[in-house]
Symmetry: C2
Subunit: 193 residues, 2 copies
């Protein structure tokens, strides 16, 4: 069997998305922090590469999606570099040797250096978690499949506004051949390989 | 005639590329700083959008081009965020309302948010200057043409290692329909429109 090389991609676990009451809060995100932390610790222990992919928006809204622009300008900015809200939630902060990448749209692959970096280190298996299922998680997973990666989504480390939305997305994601499994299942399977 | 909307793209005018003796010095770059400054002031006066597109490399070389990796690791890093060398040369520093974008490869369009932002503000004409002709300037201009922009290259605000290399590139760039003109010619033509 060809050698496997795993990388972890943690999507958008920033204060403005995760903390209850935050301006772009995803209801399910806060509850996944402990699972993501366990998954992150597992990758750190195995010295496997970790990519923290985050959003940033310029304060004038010049780079935000069209569908978000009006709310961003009217209701108050979020995910602006240099603000507390833009930072990764404290328990998941990157440590030295991990990568923080900025994305401008839903997919972690769209107009970012992610694919260049994954290819350089020979990643074959991409483990995806974070928030939120219908947008950035799903777009990232679909692109990863298209780029030829084996993709594993950790369901209890990934969130949406409601469990129903999460579940509906998991159905579709499984249908393109992605393993959507729990953290315990992943660790069990990983240790068997 | 359809309305024209100009934007200025200044490429890679960072200390590590521009200052004499810098680690990735382009011999012709320092001499263009005064012309680029005049061009920048012209855009500021006209309240036309300005994009400062720059390079950044992670210190472990994980995101640098393959052909530059060995030298980067062996001879000492350059263009690393947070270092003086990575900063835009002092006379050309962005002011409020101007955009600083990071690119990871030669073209300012490759895996960056530039195209999203140009489209949002309805740019039709892209004025390109900076360094250096055979790599980032040329790749950017070719992509801009492919994306459908009218492109103007300001020859005395653009540089290469030698005048011969610059001239050879100008020939090729003109041959795809790009105006390669001096700063004075540009300002004259602009004021006539």
């Amino acid at each position: 069997m060809a050698e496997r090389k795993y990388a972890l991609v943690i999507v958008d676990m920033q204060n403005d998305f995760v903390l209850p009451g935050s301006p772009a809060c995803v209801a399910g995100a806060y509850g996944t922090v402990p699972s993501i932390k366990r998954l992150l610790d597992f990758f750190r222990l195995n010295k496997s590469p970790v990519f923290h992919v985050v959003r940033e928006y310029r304060p004038d809204g010049s780079d935000i999606e069209m569908n978000r622009l009006e709310g961003f300008l009217r209701k108050g900015r979020y995910l602006v570099p240099g603000t507390k809200g833009c930072e990764i939630v404290e328990p998941l902060r990157p440590v030295e040797g991990e990568y923080r990448l900025v994305k401008n749209r839903y997919s972690c692959f769209m107009n970012t250096e992610l694919e260049f970096m994954l290819r350089r280190i020979g990643v074959t298996h991409l483990v995806v978690c974070g928030t939120q299922y219908p947008n950035c998680i799903r777009a990232t997973i679909f692109d990863a499949v298209c780029h030829g990666y084996h993709v594993i989504n950790i369901t209890d480390a990934t969130s949406a506004q409601t469990p129903e939305i999460a579940q509906a997305n998991i159905v579709d994601i499984r249908n393109i051949g992605v393993d959507c499994i729990s953290l315990d299942e992943f660790i069990h399977a990983f240790n068997k390989n």
